[in-house]
């Protein structure tokens, strides 16, 4: 495979290059121009959140240099992972154009289940976690039932779920109100201390680049074989090298302190798994289709009810898992777990990251990017010794901006025919 075989060497024969009206952008300069074109027409992707994150980090770093210290960033990653997993579930329900307002309560209920079963009843910890996640799945299937069979809007179904599940959490915690998880246990260590060995972190950081390169080369050869235009090898190598470089620098910097938390590794692993499922499987295609045009998806023979059910169940299970993770982070299962801003932070993270509230548009990485934005704000304001009153106001403002950007970009996409 040589990089200098240009696409335009055989113009007339390629299947997808026969229409003379289509502009063909070749090479790296072309890729940049195509990107600018996309952004102008309102197909923003992750651009707003990356710009926003750079802005937020600049402001906080200038106000307090500790913000960008590796020690603080490692803490940030620990904090991101818990609500981030919940936000990943929210991405699922937003993809089909629905919402789950009860993820906070489910996460709190899950932590209470783990506390009760493991500490009070003496179950093995793994079994207790499994039970908590399974209960999350049950709650999700109840929502799916209410939505599919009884036509209850998910907004209302999950709003009543918010109260009911919170009630169950308080009920099983009983009069004691909170259960402390034993320090030194594997679960609490996982949430508070365990980090990857340095070398392993570096190796894992190289994996995405290698995978990009391998799949890229495979795509090129397969498309050439099929007589379709293919991206140039140069651009793929460039992307893979750039990705690897950025990840390795991040790992190097965080390794100055404790290193990459295993919990964050778990979160990123789940995000990548979800990304694969949403973009490369039939299920993911169906999710996008249902979110875009439910009736068209139904007429194409997709079992729409099953798709909705999978979204609700997955969301609740991830919410439960997020609750278990935050219990291990806090080393306790309390009545406060999952209350307050957990719910809205998770939803805000998905939306800020670029998953549309209108359905049919979004990606798994929006949970990762969005939660980093939200936790950065919380973390930065804590470092500045500012109260949570200000934090709520600022997070609210950022969410409003994110939704405005989403609506404006949507309008622009419609007028540029990209919907």
């Amino acid at each position: 495979m040589t990089g200098n075989v240009k696409d335009n060497a055989l113009p007339a024969t390629m299947l997808d290059r026969s229409d003379e009206r289509l502009k063909h952008e070749a090479g790296i300069g072309g890729a940049v121009r195509a990107f600018i074109d996309r952004v102008r027409s309102g197909d923003l992707g992750s651009l707003p959140v990356v710009v926003g994150l750079a802005l937020i980090w600049t402001v906080f770093a200038s106000l307090n240099p500790i913000f960008l210290s590796s020690n603080n960033l490692v803490n940030l990653l620990f904090d991101c992972s818990t609500v981030g997993v919940i936000a990943l579930g929210i991405v699922c329900v937003l993809m089909v154009g629905e919402i789950d307002l009860s993820v906070g309560s489910i996460s709190g209920f899950a932590s209470a289940i783990v506390g009760t079963l493991w500490v009070n009843q003496g179950w093995p910890v793994a079994l207790a976690i499994l039970a908590a996640v399974a209960v999350g799945g049950l709650i999700g299937s109840l929502y799916a039932l209410l939505y599919n069979r009884l036509g209850m809007p998910s907004f209302v179904a999950t709003l009543s779920g918010l109260l009911a599940v919170l009630g169950m959490q308080l009920y099983i915690l009983g009069s004691t109100g909170s259960i402390n998880l034993p320090y030194g246990s594997a679960m609490v260590n996982f949430g508070q201390m365990l980090v990857m060995p340095r070398l392993l972190a570096h190796v894992l950081a190289a994996v995405p680049g290698v995978v990009m390169l391998a799949t890229g080369i495979r795509t090129i050869s397969r498309r050439r074989e099929a007589n379709l235009s293919a991206p140039s090898l140069g651009s793929i190598v460039l992307r893979a090298v750039a990705t690897t470089l950025v990840l390795e620098i991040i790992v190097l910097y965080l390794n100055q302190d404790r290193g990459i938390p295993w919990m964050f590794g778990l979160f990123v692993g789940l995000v990548m798994l979800m990304n694969y499922a949403l973009t490369r499987t039939q299920w993911g295609r169906s999710m996008t289709a249902v979110g875009g045009n439910r009736e068209a998806a139904r007429r194409a023979g997709i079992n729409v009810r099953r798709i909705y059910a999978s979204a609700f169940v997955l969301c609740s299970m991830l919410a439960a898992l997020g609750g278990v993770l935050s219990a291990s982070r806090l080393a306790s299962a309390s009545q406060q777990a999952g209350t307050g801003d957990v719910n809205l932070n998770a939803i805000a993270a998905a939306v800020i990251g670029g998953t549309s509230l209108f359905g049919g548009r979004g990606n798994a990485y929006s949970a990762l990017l969005g939660i980093i934005v939200i936790q950065s704000i919380a973390n930065g304001l804590t470092l500045l010794d500012l109260s949570s009153s200000l934090r709520y106001m600022i997070t609210g403002g950022v969410l409003a901006i994110a939704v405005i950007v989403d609506s404006l970009a949507r309008r622009s996409r419609v007028s540029h025919g990209r919907a």
């Binding site: 007589n227 379709l228 499987t281 169906s286 289709a289 045009n293 194409a300 023979g301 548009r361 919907a419």
Partner: protein, 273 residues
Amino acid sequence: MTETVDRKAPAGEMVLSLRGISKSFGAVSALTDIDLDVHAGEVVALVGDNGAGKSTLVKTLAGVHQPTAGTITFRGQPVTMTDPSAALNLGIATVFQDLALCENLDVVANIFLGRELKPMQLDETAMEVRSWTLLNELSARIPSVRIPIASLSGGQRQTVAIARSLLLEPKLILLDEPTAALGVAQTAEVLNLIERVRDRGLGVIMISHNMEDVRAVADRIVVLRLGRNNGVFYPDATNQELVGAITGAVDNSVTRREERRHAEQQLSEGGQP
């Protein structure tokens, strides 16, 4: 009611046979006692005024609506279609009037929606090649199959919807106003396509308001009026007969208009000398 008798025998075996199909939405009877036969290698045109029940009948055959009464026999077997995927699996493909495409997905994803190759690791290359093959068969003018449907024109969307219906190599194709949004060349292509599909031995049901298109390709013309059968015609039937069956009377608004214009013309000619 005009029925020409000694027609050539229908081309092949019976693909679809409807007996006494009725469909009501609450108090409204959209379809009453519809009988319809389609043979292999035959194009049946379904015509009727607005609200005659054409689209309802097509949706019933596509599994979108379930009939209130009556039997559907498909390739000799009585069938019930509980949802659209049941119809697709039987081999009944439909191009709906509203096209039923997902605007946020690209052309390839729409063509293969619900029928993706390799469900656990989508084979994008193979799907793209197959999409181009289907679209080229239709002489489609689509610049790229990797752009979302939202950026295509009405005619281009129609072509995508037709290409999708051919993907599964169906036995029967239902086309609800297939040429309504198309340009001159695309209309001709679609009509050619309908003939090609028929010559491959498939049954075709086509809804159209355009009598010219109907006459051009239909082997039989079935008229619906107010949800009931109102006669079966052949392409050599006069316009007056067809319009009469569609509107329900020989004396109707179309003929009155014709007569008025005729009279006006005579009047102005008479005033000349």
